[in-house]
């Protein structure tokens, strides 16, 4: 088996605020193989976006990577200088944001922005760069790319802007794309189009992808593996089918149970009581303890991530096991 494209080991990204250190990401480990899609799932404040930002080196002060390593093709991204990181960012690793206007400069034409990106990492003529930009726009399904290159971002619809942002991410055929909720703001039919496009691209180019989202149903159709985050930690990971069909962690279990389509129509949805704890002063032990129906005295001790079934890792001492106790 070949080495994974990305291997994150015990990543710690903390924000050092006046009120104390906020451990937004606290000991996260996962790996993404070549051409694979990892779905990183969690609710607001679970640390999923900060994990993404850490990988691409965009954590701003007061936040910083306080420990762990991010091995990308054998190099530790956490130890690279800003210069070396800039060299990788945009060429070998790219990011797609939720709001495409974060990627696009509103006062520059699309061609200016795309050619600039090509020239930033490649010594080619401007004409070749334009060629590359046009081909990439065509690849993400933008009709008449020659004309669209001359347009400004505001002349595109939300879905088209996101396609342009994806095209920019693809310009240098990166080995890894970190996508942070890229379809959350889009309408369902447009989301369907973009997901289909992304699926095709991953399959044909062998690009690995980390798809950060709160939407389990998007991940269900798109990802190979899934990692569920809660309060800065991964609580469960494994193959998509396994995790979604037989969730082990009570949080994953509750999350899947609260999706409306998994419930009988008109009946009360199964819900997780309470709300996500503040990361500033997490109680000791399992962070989900206060909301967990299976919590016991033993949960006061910090649970560790353990492979309790082949290929299934979970951070819980009372996992949902076997059909006999299926809820």
């Amino acid at each position: 088996m070949t080495a994974p494209t990305l291997e994150v080991r015990d990543l710690q990204t903390h924000f050092f605020t006046r009120a104390g250190a906020v451990k937004a990401v606290d000991g996260v480990s996962f790996s993404v193989g070549r051409g694979k899609v990892l779905g990183l799932v969690g609710e607001s404040g679970s640390g999923k976006s900060v994990t993404g930002f850490s990988i691409i080196g965009l954590v701003d002060p007061p936040g910083r990577i306080a420990g762990g390593s991010i091995l990308f093709q054998g190099r530790d991204l956490a130890k690279l200088s800003e210069e070396e990181m800039r060299d990788l960012r945009g060429s070998r690793i790219a990011m797609i944001f939720q709001d495409p206007m974060m990627t696009l400069n509103p006062v520059l034409r699309i061609d200016t922005q795309m050619i600039e990106t090509v020239l930033a990492h490649k010594r080619v003529s401007k004409e070749e760069a334009r060629q590359r930009a046009r081909d990439t726009l065509g690849m993400v399904g933008i009709p008449s790319p020659d004309e669209r290159l001359k347009a400004y971002p505001h002349q595109f619809s939300g879905g088209m802007r996101q396609r342009v942002a994806i095209a920019i991410a693809l310009l240098h055929e990166p080995q890894l794309i970190v996508a942070d909720e890229p379809t959350t703001a889009l309408d369902v039919t447009i989301q369907g189009q973009i997901l289909a496009e992304v699926q095709k691209l991953c399959a044909t180019t062998g690009t690995s992808m980390i798809w950060i989202t709160h939407d389990l149903s998007v991940v269900a159709g798109l990802a190979d593996d899934i990692a569920v985050m809660y309060a800065g930690r991964i609580v469960e990971k494994g193959a998509v089918g396994e995790v979604l069909d037989k969730p082990l962690h009570p949080y994953t279990h509750g999350l899947i149970g609260s999706v409306p389509s998994r419930n009988k129509r008109g009946e009360a949805l199964r819900q997780i009581p309470g709300m996500t704890p503040s990361l500033l002063n997490l109680p000791p032990g399992c962070a989900f303890r206060a909301r967990c129906p299976r919590a016991s005295e033993a949960c006061l001790a910090e649970p560790v991530m353990a492979e309790i079934l082949p290929g299934r890792e979970v951070r819980c001492i009372h996992p949902h096991l076997g059909a006999s106790e299926a809820a």
């Binding site: 609710e43 607001s44 619809s157 939300g158 879905g159 088209m160 309408d187 369902v188 039919t189 447009i190 989301q191 369907g192 189009q193 997901l195 289909a196 699926q199 709160h214 939407d215 389990l216 149903s217 998007v218 269900a220 159709g221 798109l222 190979d224 998509v240 089918g241 979604l244 509750g254 999350l255 899947i256 609260s258 999706v259 409306p260 389509s261 998994r262 419930n263 129509r265 008109g266 009360a268 949805l269 199964r270 819900q271 997780i272 009581p273 709300m275 996500t276």
Partner: protein, 332 residues
């Protein structure tokens, strides 16, 4: 059951016009082909909601669902058409009667951050309207607010706090308490759970269903999320670019959708049951409501388009008992 629907919309239309500026008017006078831009946000919608029903209103951006909700809630007057409450035209009412009627419909908004005044304490946010309208029934102001807050699942001990001291889910509960404090019988929920996390969303949806039982409420539930609508609604109305394209009870819409748009919409929804599946694709973009396509608005994206669809607007008509659809294919 009462034969008169609780709410009836007849030919409701709402246009937004962008008036020409000074330069534009001069250019027009000189014969330049500039015209005022008109957006047909809602275009001739007929809809009836019976007492106790939950009607889900579904559509993508720009389909006019929010505009329709605002007209129902009385925030926005319709350009044309009539709104009947219990068979009585709300435009014909005036003075205290009109005020009473307006109180009976309340709205819950999408953004729990923008829809609460950041400078008001929860006590005043929830209690202001019932005090102004004299609904306190002799109960003390504080007791009344306490009752409203506990009903929405909020600790009345927090009533002296400001909105920023609450999480998104709790703020949405404040919005719900505020809406219910004036004792409405009809609630318009405009994407009321769209901004919330899945686990919080489930809590709020359960609250909606509990309140419906306890207070005998009727909902118009506006959402783009088909999963939520399927779970909550008795009947579903699908809109596309200002027009209703299909309407039927929930079961029918999800099992036997008729309109090609409904079918593509349902196909596009990612479902947790679908693994590693090729996403089915509806071609094309949502057209701009400033310049909608001729005939059937969906024809440029429709996989079954015919010549007729490009010129003739299909009528919304009954195709099966309780199912209405606006598609020319049903004529064949």
């Amino acid at each position: 059951m009462n034969a008169t629907p609780m709410l009836e919309l007849r030919g409701i239309t709402r246009r937004f016009e962008k008036k020409l500026d000074f330069a534009g008017r001069i250019a027009q006078r000189l014969g330049a082909p500039v015209r005022e831009e008109v957006v047909h946000a809602v275009d001739g919608v007929d809809l009836a909601v019976r007492k106790g029903e939950v009607v889900g209103l579904v559509g993508e951006s720009g389909c006019g669902k929010s505009t329709l909700g605002r007209m129902v809630a009385g925030i926005l007057p319709p350009t044309e058409g009539t709104i009947l409450r219990d068979g009585c035209d709300i435009k014909a009412l005036s003075g205290p009667e009109a005020r009473q009627m307006k109180l009976r419909t309340q709205m819950i908004f999408q953004d729990p951050y923008a829809s609460l005044n950041p400078r008001m304490r929860v006590l005043d946010i929830v209690g202001e309207a019932p005090r102004v309208h004299g609904l306190l029934d002799g109960a003390s102001f504080d007791d009344y607010v306490d009752e409203q807050m506990s009903r929405a699942g909020l600790d009345p001990g927090f009533k002296r706090r400001y909105p920023h001291q609450f999480s998104g889910g709790q703020r949405q509960r404040i919005g719900i308490a505020r809406a219910l404090a004036v004792k409405p019988d009809f609630i318009v929920c405009d994407e009321a759970v769209a901004a919330l996390d899945v686990s919080i969303q489930a809590q709020i949806l359960n609250l909606f269903m509990r309140l419906r039982r306890e207070l005998d409420l009727t909902y118009l539930f506006i959402s783009h999320d088909l999963g939520v609508v399927e779970h909550l609604s008795d009947r579903v109305v699908i809109m596309y670019l200002g027009r209703v394209v299909e309407e039927a009870n929930t079961e029918t819409v999800f099992r036997r959708p008729n309109h090609p748009y409904t079918r593509s919409l349902l196909d596009s929804v990612p479902r947790i049951e679908n693994r590693k599946r090729a996403f089915s694709v509806v071609k094309g973009e949502i057209p701009s409501p400033i310049n909608p396509p001729s005939g059937c608005h969906f024809h440029p994206r429709c996989p079954l388009v015919m010549e007729r669809c490009k010129v003739e607007v299909p009528k919304l008509r009954e195709i099966a008992p309780g199912q209405r659809s606006a598609c020319h294919l049903n004529d064949q």
